[in-house]
């Protein structure tokens, strides 16, 4: 067992950290106040080749694994960019993976390079209001016509759809009652987000104002045949491949943001003097912070264990789910304690920790709830009967 980073992984983390240093706490505070996508930040990442970290070298990527992608995303969140920074690029790292795995050579040549260069921006059209985590129950449908497909339906929580020009869309192509299993008959498309047929409405939400989340209304969106990924009817299974990497990345980001919060809390606890001593000298302040350090580091070990398993081609469902659960909880505790350590100042925006606290909740909820993770572990790892 070797828990240390390779020299290359170290330089990945160092380079990203230096890049992020240009975008300081006040930058992200402004983005959070005013809204507006962090275009300059994403352009910088694209120019540095970072969006292609996990994409194949033949198409301009660097062909690295989830481990390196997780290090990158963690460094972004940890820089203080939090989920405002991480979510702005998150989808680009593994979202296009179905194209890599199931796309034709023509599709890969056509679709991957503009994504890696940051010229195309994609969004993820999977979640629906009437399906939630029961993805097989989605209602968006795509029907054949003489030129290809036409899609109708609604998607929810589609991030970055305000500015995306592409959408990875899951739609039912065979009615559920005509399929052997509910998970059959769904197809995956990667196509133009043509706003003549798609209305994108932003959802006002608790945190991460810079990165829009949306309700998407699709009304007769034409999809050419060449934008179908892989086989018709296999879309659900293609998405499954991407679930574990996504959980690992969100977990890495949660640990990163938790560390940023802990760092701010610790600095404040050293500086702030009340009753003639720094408040960090009081165990009531010190112990929760020490506990958070331990929780974050433990979660981080699970994150990189899951990443290492995935990168070596081994099953990692249990570890990836556990990592997401542990990291979100540890990150949440760290952010909450950071606010409490700051006392009244923690409630003030200029101390930044209240933003972290609002943002970290995303990691507890998405991409899968704590309850569904515990269901998975109870059923698949412990062998207990299915509860839902």
């Amino acid at each position: 067992m070797d828990f240390s980073l390779t020299a290359e992984q170290q330089s990945i983390r160092d380079s990203i950290t230096k890049l992020c240093a240009k975008y300081d706490a006040d930058y992200w505070l402004r983005r959070d106040d005013e809204g507006g996508f962090p275009d300059d930040f994403v352009a910088d990442l694209a120019a540095g080749g970072w969006l292609g970290i996990a994409m194949p070298p033949e198409y301009g990527g660097s062909g690295l694994g989830v481990t390196e992608a997780a290090l990158m995303m963690q460094a972004i969140a940890q820089s203080g960019a939090g989920f405002s920074g991480a979510s702005a690029v998150h989808i680009n790292l593994f979202g296009p993976n179905p194209i890599v795995v199931h796309g034709t050579e023509e599709q890969k040549r056509r679709l991957l390079p503009p994504l890696i260069q940051g010229k195309d921006r994609t969004c993820f059209g999977v979640t629906e209001p009437n399906a939630g985590l029961n993805t097989a129950a989605i209602e968006t449908r795509a029907e054949r016509d003489n030129k290809g497909w036409v899609a109708h339906g609604r998607k929810l929580w589609t991030s970055t759809a305000q500015s995306a020009n592409k959408i990875l869309l899951l739609a039912r192509t065979t009615p559920r009652d005509k399929c052997r299993k509910s998970t059959d008959g769904l197809s995956l498309f990667y196509t133009d987000l043509d706003r003549r047929y798609v209305e994108v409405r932003e959802i006002h939400k608790m945190g991460r104002k810079a990165v829009d989340s949306n309700a998407v209304f699709i009304d007769g969106l034409p999809i050419p045949d060449e934008d179908l990924l892989g086989e018709e009817g296999r879309g659900f299974y293609y998405l499954l491949d991407g679930l574990n990497p996504e959980r690992v990345l969100v977990a890495a980001e949660a640990v990163g943001l938790g560390r940023a919060a802990l760092q701010r809390a610790t600095a404040y606890a050293k500086e702030r003097v009340v009753f003639g001593r720094p408040i960090g000298q009081n165990q009531a302040i010190q112990h929760p912070l020490a506990q958070s350090w331990a929780e974050l580091e433990a979660a981080n070990l699970m994150v990189f264990k899951a990443a290492a398993l995935y990168d070596s081609g081994q099953p990692c469902g249990a570890e990836a789910n556990a990592a997401k659960y542990l990291a979100a909880e540890a990150g949440y505790h760290a952010c909450e304690r950071a606010v409490l350590t700051h006392g009244g100042m923690g409630y003030a925006k200029e101390f930044h920790v209240e933003r972290y606290f609002r943002e970290i909740l995303v990691a507890r909820i998405a991409p899968v709830s704590r309850e569904m993770i515990l269901n998975y572990l109870g059923e698949r790892v412990l062998g207990l009967p299915k509860s839902y």
Binding site: A7, E8, Q10, S11, I12, D14, S15, K18, L19, A47, G48, G49, W50, G52, I53, P57, S62
Partner: protein
């Protein structure tokens, strides 16, 4: 023109260092190491000269343990073309480093050597000057601006009280000051390419240089804790304290 850039692996500038309990030095166990920041500026300047068409090749050189190879990789990821590691486990003193670099200059024949003005670990600020003296090459130290035209290098130097510009014939030695440039961070494709760039390994023995230390470190101690100051209300009170309590006037 070939540019040689000597770089040193040092404790990262963000690390709060600790003196070893036995007072023999600084504790380097589990401490993050990085390229000396002034050397990063040197690498950056070399890359800019190459990008401007004034240089054809950049050779990054480090003298130190095997791990110094990682520091060379950092320079290669920024844009240096190849690396040379002179492997030694003794902590080479500035004169030793200068001798080794002189021997290497005889092999590599660079038109310009750009060094950091000093390393942030021991702050010696000697190597560049010693190398210039040993090679009998002109030197422009504490550079804040370089301009190369028709075979002459104009170096703007940060000196006490202002800026001084000197014009050097090549080959020459330049040491970098903080304001020369802002080093780039490596892009991901360049980090990947750096893995394939060559790093030669040499030994001081092969270069005919004895690395045995000439200086003996007697003791390393933490700087004394700074005592909190006192506030004075008037000039008279200040003068009185300086005269009667501190006794310096």
């Amino acid at each position: 023109m070939k540019i040689m850039v000597p770089i040193k692996r040092v404790v990262d500038y963000n690390v709060k260092i600790r003196v070893k309990a036995d007072g023999t030095g600084v504790d380097l166990n589990n401490v993050k190491m990085s390229m000396n920041p002034f050397d990063e500026i040197a690498v950056e300047e070399a890359i800019r000269l190459k990008e401007a068409g004034s240089a054809t090749e950049i050779v990054a050189v480090s003298i130190g343990p095997q791990q110094a190879q990682e520091t060379i990789r950092t320079a290669l990821a920024m844009g240096a073309d190849r690396g040379i590691l002179i492997k030694t486990d003794t902590d080479a003193e500035p004169l030793t480093v200068a001798k080794l670099l002189k021997a290497l200059c005889a092999e590599e024949k660079p038109g310009l050597v750009i060094l950091g003005k000093q390393a942030i670990d021991n702050d010696c600020n000697q190597t560049g000057q010693m190398l210039a003296a040993l090679l009998q090459w002109p030197q422009g130290t504490f550079a804040s601006k370089l301009a190369l035209s028709s075979g002459k290098l104009a170096v703007t130097r940060e000196v006490d009280g202002g800026l001084q510009t000197v014009e050097l014939n090549l080959p020459a030695i330049v040491t970098t000051d903080l304001r020369l440039n802002e080093p780039r961070y490596a892009s991901l494709p360049n980090i990947m390419k750096a893995k394939k760039k060559p790093i030669d390994e040499k030994t001081p023995e092969a270069l005919g240089i004895d690395t045995a230390p000439r200086l003996k470190t007697l003791k390393v101690v933490e700087p004394p804790k700074r005592q909190s100051g006192v506030k004075v209300k008037t000039v008279g009170e200040l003068v009185d304290k300086l005269r009667n309590e501190v006794g310096i006037i």
